[in-house]
């Protein structure tokens, strides 16, 4: 119902705003309302977040718990190659590694997904047929996201048509930082729509916030909520092309966001830190952070992923160390 005194009336009529989630049904009715909602989220105590992440990082995880953590982390890896120089051969060899990360040890779990550029998704899909390993494709003018919406949506359609099971989209950070939150929201909604496959089902949507460009943890919290309200299945820290990428305090804030979002709406959203996680120790710190922040429900590849390439080799070296009792070396894992 339009009322002349309703300040939101015009914007509501001009924009086809999708149906938002129940308790937040009205927050996206206008730019002003959405801004008011996002800025009304509780502020993040940056010093406190850093201290909390640091304390949790000191937990000592040993023996059987460490073995479990390593296997869990391996099963959560999105094995990634996002280089201009990627070739079909490189994608195939990465897919082979994803199936069987440690060919000398059949008890080693396979990874969760292989993450490539959209044009190579088809090759990854063929190479992973029948393995249950997903193909994730980055889209929407990754990594900068600087293209018109039509181009971004075409990019996504193309990746989905090539067989991508998961789409890693970037948000429009320029619009976000300029305060045009509803633009960012609508774009995610539009991308989510084209993730739907003609034959039924839908590609999983991961929304990359690129936290290194969002400057503050308050912005990270706002962007997390924005992405979740828009229907993202995962929120992901970074593209890996910007430094700083995934840091523990950022991940802490995002885990709090998914926890609070589930409490408010009943819908669970996954988290994927990407970029800069290179050692087993880093990965274990993240697992501790999940357990202590969002809870054990997120300790599964369905709800938590590591976007990484070199991390997997370090996990394998540590796994070999636990299995054999002596230190292994880089000659004992593949060079990607």
């Amino acid at each position: 119902m339009t009322h002349v005194l309703d300040p939101d009336a015009l914007s509501r009529e001009s924009r086809p705003v999708p149906a938002p989630l129940e308790p937040f049904a009205d927050v996206t009715r206008s730019d002003a309302a959405f801004r008011a909602f996002l800025h009304g989220l509780p502020g993040v105590d940056q010093v406190g977040a850093e201290a909390r992440a640091k304390v949790l990082g000191t937990r000592s995880i040993k023996t059987t718990a460490k073995a479990w953590a390593i296997d869990t982390a391996i099963s959560m890896v999105d094995l990634t190659t996002l280089e201009g120089s990627d070739t079909p051969g490189k994608v195939r060899s990465l897919a082979a590694k994803a199936r069987r990360p440690d060919p000398a040890d059949l008890t080693c779990p396979s990874v969760a997904a292989v993450c490539v550029y959209g044009d190579l998704a088809g090759i990854a899909k063929d190479a992973l047929a029948g393995t249950g390993i997903n193909v994730a494709a980055v889209a929407t003018a990754f990594p900068s996201g600087r293209a018109s919406r039509a181009v971004k949506l075409a990019d996504v359609r193309d990746a989905v048509a090539n067989g991508a099971d998961e789409i890693d989209m970037v948000i429009d950070r320029g619009a976000f930082l300029a305060g045009r939150y509803l633009d960012v929201f609508e774009e995610i909604v539009a991308v989510k729509e084209v993730c739907t496959r003609r034959e039924g089902g839908s590609a999983h949507l991961k929304v990359i916030l690129e936290t290194g460009e969002l400057v503050t943890l308050d912005n990270v919290r706002r962007a997390s909520w924005l992405a979740m309200l828009a229907g993202g299945d995962f929120i992901k820290t970074s593209t890996g092309k910007v430094s700083p990428a995934a840091t523990l305090p950022v991940c802490l804030v995002m885990l709090e966001a998914v926890r609070d979002f589930r409490a408010a709406t009943g819908r669970q959203v996954g988290v994927k830190p990407a970029g800069g996680i290179r050692t087993t120790k880093d990965a274990v710190k993240h697992l501790v952070l999940i357990n202590e922040t969002a809870g054990a429900d997120w300790l599964s590849p369905d709800w938590f992923r590591f976007g990484a390439s070199s991390l997997l080799n370090d996990l394998l070296l540590q796994r070999q160390k636990l299995r054999t009792g002596h230190y292994s070396g880089p000659d004992h894992v593949s060079v990607d």
Partner: protein
């Protein structure tokens, strides 16, 4: 100036990857002179320090082994120059640690510096002495050249704290290997000072890593480590621990320089015997007349 000044008690750290970190374990131990007087605290390296040192040594390997032999010689000679400048400090530490007179300690330091220069000179002569142009019965050239083995773990002699150390470290470096050294447990101070010398000369970080502590504790981890290519057991004596380490080293087919029955006299002419175990012979065949 007051005469009852409190001396600053030193707590030394490890030399690892070109930096001076504390032991990951946080442990230290007291170092005493031969009469039992306190000299300083030294870091007591753990297996994880050894692991980190191997990573540092592997990281530095391509740069060091890829440098020209001439350049390696220059860099090692520069180390001798810096050692010469700190000879008095070395002599004091050797005298206290080994219980030598000032004159004999100074002689040991001089011998150590001379030994270092000697190995620096060998870098660009190894290929000429150990390599060959092979006589082959066919239309080929056949060349053999010595190449470094890789990352070498060195258990440094327990008694001769500087001359012994230089006598086992020099040959490893001259051939182009990088080293993870476990120093003498009871007499680590000259090694600590050598670390400071290396850090202020031109040796790239990670080429030499010095771990103060107990070879019996760290040695087995290095002997089993799959990314260590050779091990020098000079810091042990034959039998017991040395036997165990040789057995572990066989698991990854390391080059092993075996321990002597007792610590040798390091003043003797070393020859090439400590260099050749950590050199691999690469042969290249090249067709001619095509």
């Amino acid at each position: 100036m007051s005469t009852d000044r409190l001396p600053v008690r030193k707590t030394y750290k490890l030399y690892l990857g070109g930096a001076f970190p504390r032991s990951e374990s946080g442990r230290t131990y007291e170092v005493h002179d031969t009469k039992g007087h306190f000299l300083a605290n030294a870091a007591r390296a753990s297996r994880k320090d050894a692991r980190d040192a191997v990573v540092a040594a592997r990281g530095a390997f391509w740069k060091w082994s890829g440098a020209t032999a001439y350049n390696r010689g220059q860099v090692l000679y520069r180390v001798a120059e810096v050692m010469e400048g700190r000879a008095a400090q070395f002599a004091e530490e050797v005298a206290a640690g080994e219980g030598l007179s000032a004159t004999r300690a100074r002689a040991a330091v001089d011998a150590a510096i001379d030994r270092w220069v000697w190995y620096a000179g060998w870098t660009d002569k190894l290929a000429a002495v150990l390599g060959s142009s092979n006589p082959v019965a066919g239309p080929y050239f056949g060349f053999s050249t010595p190449e470094p083995t890789g990352v070498v773990a060195v258990l440094a002699p327990q008694r001769s704290s500087l001359l012994g150390l230089v006598s086992v470290l020099g040959p490893v470096l001259a051939g182009g290997n990088t080293a993870v050294v476990v120093t003498s447990k009871d007499r680590p101070l000259p090694a600590v000072t050598l670390g400071e010398v290396l850090a202020t000369s031109d040796v790239p970080g990670g080429v030499v890593n010095l771990l103060t502590g107990d070879a019996a504790e760290i040695g087995p981890w290095l002997a089993e480590h799959a990314d260590v290519d050779g091990i020098d057991l000079a810091g042990t004596t034959a039998g017991g621990l040395a036997m165990e380490l040789e057995r572990s080293a066989a698991g990854t087919v390391k080059r092993v320089l075996r321990a002597a029955a007792e610590e040798p006299d390091w003043t003797a002419d070393p020859g090439l015997t400590r260099m050749t175990p950590f050199l691999e012979t690469k042969s290249v065949w090249h067709p001619i007349g095509v």
